[in-house]
């Protein structure tokens, strides 16, 4: 793709949509070659639009795009993978929306990151195939690494010393685990037990399917979720908005355990 071509082709995952004027929408797309970008779909909110279903958020789509003066314009869109299970299950849809928001927040426009695109597809594939919610920890850890914020889990993030096999503080401001000597200077964080540290280290080297197959104690899973949320919010310096929906959905599932997760008839 060169900047001189008037029309270019790319695949991408639709991250979000916002309406523009009477019948147009602007979509944020994350693509392997062109990074994150925005483009407008004209008339896409009309019932007869041919692109409408192909541009739903969380869809992996093949796109033909014309360069515009301010915003590029979609001229064709065709679904590669619609990830239906991500739309038809409340828990998985909440997780996928959270993943999409993180991609949006951690990327800047037009900066390509093919590794991150692969990670996004692998995460959506895993969630669509029914992977447990903790697979999102794998996504978060690799997202941090691929965007330059890799979590230090081998040695102390402050002094670089070896960490003894014991409960250790994960301090967001230090960027990882810190030894007892550095604890006071590292600021706040959460104490991660040895089992949790093993999970964090395992995530680095294994594949997403192997990680999905791990059996993690629910309390430990919750602790790791909280610890990684702290790190992410520290890096972003803001709240991840869709986290609230995710928490609300999780709260509802816990409240309705006798009748869990049935789909709408």
């Amino acid at each position: 793709m060169t900047s001189r071509t008037r029309v270019y082709k790319t695949e991408g995952v639709i991250l979000r949509r916002r309406n523009l004027g009477e019948a147009d929408s602007v979509f944020t797309v994350f693509s392997p070659g062109a990074g994150k970008f925005e483009a407008v779909a004209r008339g896409v909110r009309k019932a007869r639009s041919r692109m409408r279903g192909h541009l739903e958020p969380l869809t992996r789509t093949e796109l033909l795009i014309a360069r515009g003066r301010s915003l590029d314009v979609f001229t064709q869109a065709e679904t590669i993978e619609a990830y239906r299970p991500l739309r038809e299950d409340l828990d998985r849809s909440a997780l996928a929306i959270y993943v999409a928001e993180l991609i949006d927040r951690f990327t800047i426009e037009h900066a390509e990151n093919p590794g991150l695109y692969e990670l996004l597809l692998a995460t959506f594939d895993a969630l669509a195939a029914g992977a447990p919610a903790h697979v999102v920890r794998f996504f978060e850890l690799h997202l941090l690494a691929l965007t330059g914020f890799e979590l230090q889990v081998d040695a102390c993030a402050s002094c670089g010393d070896r960490l003894p096999p014991a409960d250790t503080l994960l301090a967001p401001s230090a960027g990882g685990l810190v030894c007892v000597a550095c604890r006071a200077a590292a600021g706040t964080g959460r104490i991660v037990p040895v089992a949790g540290i093993k999970v964090l280290r395992y995530a680095r080297g294994c594949g997403i399917d192997q990680f999905a197959a791990l059996r993690i104690d629910p309390d430990l899973a919750r602790l790791l979720q909280g610890a990684l949320t702290d790190v992410i919010q520290h890096v972003l310096e803001r709240e991840v908005v869709s986290r609230r929906h995710l928490d609300e959905v999780a709260r509802l599932s816990r409240a309705s355990i006798p009748n869990p997760g049935q789909d709408v008839q």
Binding site: R48, E56, P57, R84, E88, S93, S242, L252, S253, Q265
Partner: protein, 203 residues
């Protein structure tokens, strides 16, 4: 804010600013509209002013279904010919008009005034969900039809409400999804097509 020419009388500037705040109205359109009103007969301007005032003073939300109405409860909620055991949940008041135009539904409605949009921070507290739960808890309703749009947000809202109302034991249904009339199979997205196939019916 629109930038008026220096020396523009203050009432005109105020009108331009007011128009400029409306969605889809840029500074130039705001100026054009303001000068149109200035040139229009007094009666026309008066009618606009009255309409604006009335819409804020006389229109309220129906205490039962949250539809916009001049009389509370609204005409749908007081119509004795309507089935009180079936409630159709829609995103916006305009959706009721579309369903009424289509005909075929003789139950009651409930307007959420939006959908869950997790990325934009629109949560259940921003929608009229509490009012819906109150209606369902009364025990009269036996079926809730989720008529939110078949978009990511509409689906998420329908699934959320389904789970939320689960303990109440009310039957929750979803509008069928498939091909719109006049559609082109060639351009139809995979989700719609596969759902259309799943929902096929014998002649």
């Amino acid at each position: 804010m629109a930038e008026p020419m220096a020396g523009t009388p203050e009432p005109i500037t105020r009108l331009i600013d007011a128009f400029h705040k409306l969605p889809g109205i840029g500074p130039k359109s705001a100026q054009r509209l303001a000068y149109h009103i200035l040139r229009a007969p007094a009666a026309e301007a008066e009618a606009l002013a009255t309409a604006l005032r009335d819409v804020k003073e006389r229109i309220a939300l129906c205490s039962q279904c949250c539809n916009i109405t001049e009389r509370d409860p609204c005409s749908y909620c007081t119509d004795p010919r309507r089935d009180t055991t079936v409630v159709c949940v829609v995103e916006q008041p305009l959706d009721i008009l579309a369903l009424e135009r289509a005909g075929g539904f003789r139950g009651r409605y409930h307007v959420l005034h939006g959908v869950l949009n997790p990325m934009d921070g629109i949560g259940p507290e921003h929608l009229h969900i509490r009012e819906l739960l109150k209606r369902l808890e009364s025990g009269e309703v036996t079926e809730v039809i989720m008529a939110t749009n078949p978009s990511l947000e509409g689906e998420a809202t329908a699934m959320y409400l389904h789970r939320l109302t689960g303990p109440l034991g009310v039957r929750v249904t979803r509008l069928a999804r498939g091909l719109p009339s006049g559609a082109d199979l060639e351009y139809t997205d995979d989700v719609t097509l596969s759902r259309a196939l799943e929902g096929r019916q014998a002649f």
